[in-house]
């Protein structure tokens, strides 16, 4: 009885499993079936640009070349190459452009340091500007004559406002 109740559920679970199997079978046949290699492949290829569709990573691209390169990286992993060696393999062939994180070297100094240089220039510019503006504000100490005039003006204003209130 219980079986009858759960039969549709079991069947649909089997169907789902089959569907998933088909879906994964359609992907590039992994040369290395062990998950450790695949894990490393994904870690490495996510850090690399697919040359054909340049805004996609090598891990995500479905282009032919990306397939070939993933196959090549699998072979290198199975051969026991380190991540560094695999990265070098790619850079030797396609240049630093394949790396999403460009290495720090003279030609990329401007790229890495440029934003900080511009930020620093902005801060220095702002400081100079503020200092200059402070100097250009006239001195705020009032002479005795100024105080006398202010008092007179305030007195004036007070008396005129009381007059107005009476109206």
């Amino acid at each position: 009885m219980i079986l009858k109740k759960f039969l549709p559920l079991i069947l649909s679970a089997i169907a789902l499993a089959c569907a998933m199997n088909i879906a994964s079978a359609k992907d590039a046949a992994p040369l290395a079936d062990d998950p450790v290699t695949e894990q490393r492949l994904i870690a490495i290829s996510e850090e690399m640009r697919c040359l054909v569709c340049q805004n996609e990573s090598l891990a995500g691209s479905r282009s032919d070349l990306a397939n070939d390169l993933r196959r090549e990286i699998r072979v290198l992993i199975v051969e026991g190459k380190t991540d560094e060696q695999i990265r070098n393999f790619m850079v030797e062939r396609y240049g630093d452009f394949v790396l999403y994180r460009p290495p720090v070297k003279p030609i990329t100094w401007l790229l890495w340091i440029g934003p900080f240089v511009i930020l620093l220039a902005g801060i220095i510019g702002l400081m100079i500007y503020l200092r200059r503006r402070n100097q250009s504000v006239p001195s705020t100490t009032l002479s005795a004559e100024d105080n006398r005039r202010i008092d007179a003006l305030l007195q004036d204003a007070k008396s005129s406002s009381t007059e107005n209130a009476h109206d």
Binding site: V52, D64, L65, D68, L69, V91, E92, Y94
Partner: protein, 174 residues
């Protein structure tokens, strides 16, 4: 005093200049790290005769052109007449690298459009292409006497490029 007001304008002009240069660049033309380096060695069966092999080693002593092509590649068909012209000039041997192709399709294309190649090597799985950093067929390399890659062009070569760059370069390398 007046000069101060020109500063934003000047900055704007600089920005526009950068954008103009950036937008007119083809992002697909990635400078190859292989220029100035030894052409990667390989040994592949020839397209016309699978019994024979080709290796770049055998080209030492003269400058030559390596052209990566395939019958499935539309841009290669567009480029082909230019290569046929270049072949007629006999300035340098042209070696084809038939990239991830089917032998019959490739042979059919050469019969149909003419064969500018001294010979073509048959790179069925594209492994040699990877060593040469191929990512968009057609690609053309000029390799000197010592086997060093001196020039690489990605995409179809044109008559203009041939006359302005490739033929003068080959003259220099002789």
């Amino acid at each position: 005093m007046k000069a101060k007001f020109l500063i934003p304008l000047l900055l704007f002009v600089i920005l526009v200049g950068f954008l103009a240069v950036g937008l007119n660049r083809d992002p697909h033309e990635v400078p190859s790290p292989l220029i100035g380096k030894q052409a990667p060695a390989f040994e592949l069966p020839q397209l016309a005769d699978p019994q024979k092999t080709f290796s770049p080693e055998s080209m030492k002593g003269k400058p030559w052109i390596l052209n990566v092509w395939a019958s499935w590649c539309v841009a290669c068909r567009e480029e082909h007449p230019v290569l046929v012209e270049l072949g007629k000039l006999k300035v340098a041997p042209i070696i084809g690298l038939d990239y991830k192709d089917k032998r019959d399709d490739a042979m059919a294309m050469l019969t149909r459009q003419g064969n500018p190649y001294d010979l073509s090597a048959f790179d069925a799985n594209g492994r040699v292409g990877i060593d040469y950093g191929v990512y968009g067929v057609p690609e053309t390399y000029v390799i000197d006497k010592a086997g060093v890659i001196r020039f690489k062009h990605i995409g179809p070569i044109t008559m203009d490029l041939l006359n302005k760059k490739i033929i003068p370069l080959l003259g220099e390398l002789k």
